[in-house]
């Protein structure tokens, strides 16, 4: 089963400038592993050496931050959209 993943501008050099890519996966962890297979180099941008999602990377399933769900174990289902979004300042 594949889900669309929205790629942020700073990572599009690795996805041949594609804004949305389709990858397989049951959980966010799978999605990230499969992103790496399709677009080598992506995973190390998103995850640190200990395989945790980096501090300044936000991952959303539809409108919800995965930190409010089950983090990397969050499941995805057909019709979901995954977004990778850098942290942003503001106020």
């Amino acid at each position: 089963m594949s889900v669309p993943v929205r790629i942020p501008t700073p990572l599009r050099k690795l996805t041949e400038n594609q804004e949305i890519v389709e990858v397989d996966g049951v959980t966010i962890r799978d999605v990230i592993e499969n992103l790496e297979k399709a677009y080598p180099g992506l995973k190390e941008r998103i995850c640190d050496e200990e395989n945790n999602i980096r501090r300044f990377v936000n991952v959303f399933v539809n409108d919800e931050d995965i930190r409010f769900l089950q983090e990397a174990a969050t499941k995805v289902k057909p019709g979901d959209e995954v977004s990778i979004v850098p942290a942003i300042a503001g106020g």
């Binding site: 700073p10 941008r45 980096r54 300044f56 936000n58 959303f60 300042a89 106020g91």
Partner: protein
């Protein structure tokens, strides 16, 4: 849109990732391509130290641009020439109420032109946007930033879009609309607005002040710290209390205090930085209290301090580091405490702060009461926005006018009542 960086200002040398130190050109970019760390302006401090003096700064116009060697633009400031240099008020009446010896209010409620510290950040962001040839600017905002972007864009002749949560205070919405900006209200919380903005910024090539112009924007906050130091007679206050939303202002005031030492404007003295948040949205203060550097986001902020309602604070991690490094800490306060503090500041010092100012003073009161801030050392409290911007929050708590008939008898009857709260 790729715009080549100019290199006319050798003092502002490049952008640099705060996490891994990789260097980037001075473009409209904001995150490191390798680890998503925030990019920050980097300067040639030894060269600045050779050029900058107290006398040189003192001879310049009274605006935030008097510290221009330490700001990330190439040439003369193009936007916000009159912003900054707000009063530092020696607050003796408030000090007496709090039982402290030496208290100052940095009063950014009267910042020009939109009455909050955000005029500082936007002046830098839009000056840089003009240098980069950007013609459309935008922001995600909890209100104050939107006001500042709208006003400065109008005066600079730039097209602007401001994206806000739909439930903002009416006065903040009007204070954006009046400048002829495009106000887009999003049916969602600030963090959702922000996320949309990051996607829009990538797509349209606009200058989003808090997204791709962030390295420039954020540096503007330093001027609040520079001014406090200069206005104290070139001394860093021993304790500084700062409101936190994304945590950016706090980290930048800390950077300002570090920089004035680095470039030789002051002797490096010990100081402590304290952060203030409302209990209804306190991801950074809660992390400090739990003694962790992991900032747990708040999905549904609920406080009257809407300008601080950022559930996913981008600079929370660095704010925590700055507070810990300087021996400071963080505090949080209830909505009732915010309202009491707004009234206390108004009644003792004649300064009407917005809800964020109430948060800062309420937290300062608690930090003093708990002994975290000693009573006999200098304390600066940063009040960052004007009270009429959030009047809905306070309207029901300030009483109402006494209404009388237009004759002396009625007036005397009113005045001679033994206890009357007018």
């Amino acid at each position: 849109m790729t715009i080549p960086a100019m290199d006319n200002n050798p003092l502002f040398s490049h952008l640099q990732c705060r996490e891994c130190g990789r260097r980037y050109p001075k473009d409209a970019i904001h995150v490191c391509e390798f680890d998503f760390g925030p990019l920050e302006a980097a300067y040639d401090y030894p060269a600045i130290a050779k050029q900058i003096t107290r006398a040189k700064i003192g001879a310049r116009p009274k605006s935030m641009w008097r510290y221009r060697e330490l700001l990330p633009i190439e040439g003369e400031p193009l936007v916000g020439k009159h912003t900054g240099f707000t009063p530092l008020v020696r607050a003796d009446r408030l000090a007496e109420r709090l039982g402290v010896k030496e208290l100052y209010i940095k009063n950014d409620t009267v910042n020009f032109p939109t009455l909050s510290f955000k005029d500082r950040v936007v002046s830098v962001a839009l000056s840089r946007a003009k240098e980069l040839g950007i013609d459309t600017v935008a922001c995600a905002s909890t209100g104050n930033l939107a006001n500042a972007v709208a006003a400065h864009a109008a005066s600079a002749g730039l097209r602007s879009f401001v994206l806000i949560p739909a439930d903002l205070e009416q006065s903040k919405i009007i204070n954006s609309l009046v400048y002829g900006t495009n106000v887009i209200a999003i049916d969602g919380a600030y963090d959702q607005v922000n996320r949309l903005c990051s996607e829009v910024a990538g797509k349209y090539g606009w200058g989003f002040v808090n997204v791709n112009l962030r390295p420039y924007y954020a540096e503007g906050s330093k001027t609040l710290g520079f001014e406090i130091v200069e206005q104290l007679g070139w001394k860093i206050p021993r304790h500084t209390v700062i409101p936190m939303a994304s945590g950016s202002l706090l980290t930048k005031i800390n950077k300002a205090y570090e920089e004035v030492g680095k470039v030789g404007l002051v002797d490096e003295t010990a100081y402590s930085i304290y952060g203030a948040q409302a209990a209804g949205c306190s991801p950074i203060s809660t992390a400090i209290k739990n003694n962790t550097e992991t900032v747990r986001p708040v999905s549904k902020p609920q406080t009257i301090a809407k300008s601080l309602s950022i559930g996913t604070p981008a600079d929370g991690y660095y704010a925590i580091k700055a507070m810990k490094k300087t021996g400071g800490t963080a505090e949080l306060c209830s909505d009732e405490e915010i309202i009491s503090a707004i009234r206390l500041l108004a009644e003792t010092e004649g300064i009407f702060a917005e809800t964020a100012g109430g948060v800062t003073l309420a937290c300062a009161q608690k930090l003093i009461a708990s002994g975290a801030i000693p009573r006999d050392e200098s304390i600066a409290i940063c009040i960052t926005g004007y009270g009429l911007k959030t009047q809905e929050a306070i309207a029901a708590h300030v009483g109402s006018p006494a209404v009388i008939r237009p004759n002396l008898q009625a007036f005397e009857a009113l005045i001679e009542q033994p206890v009357q709260s007018i």
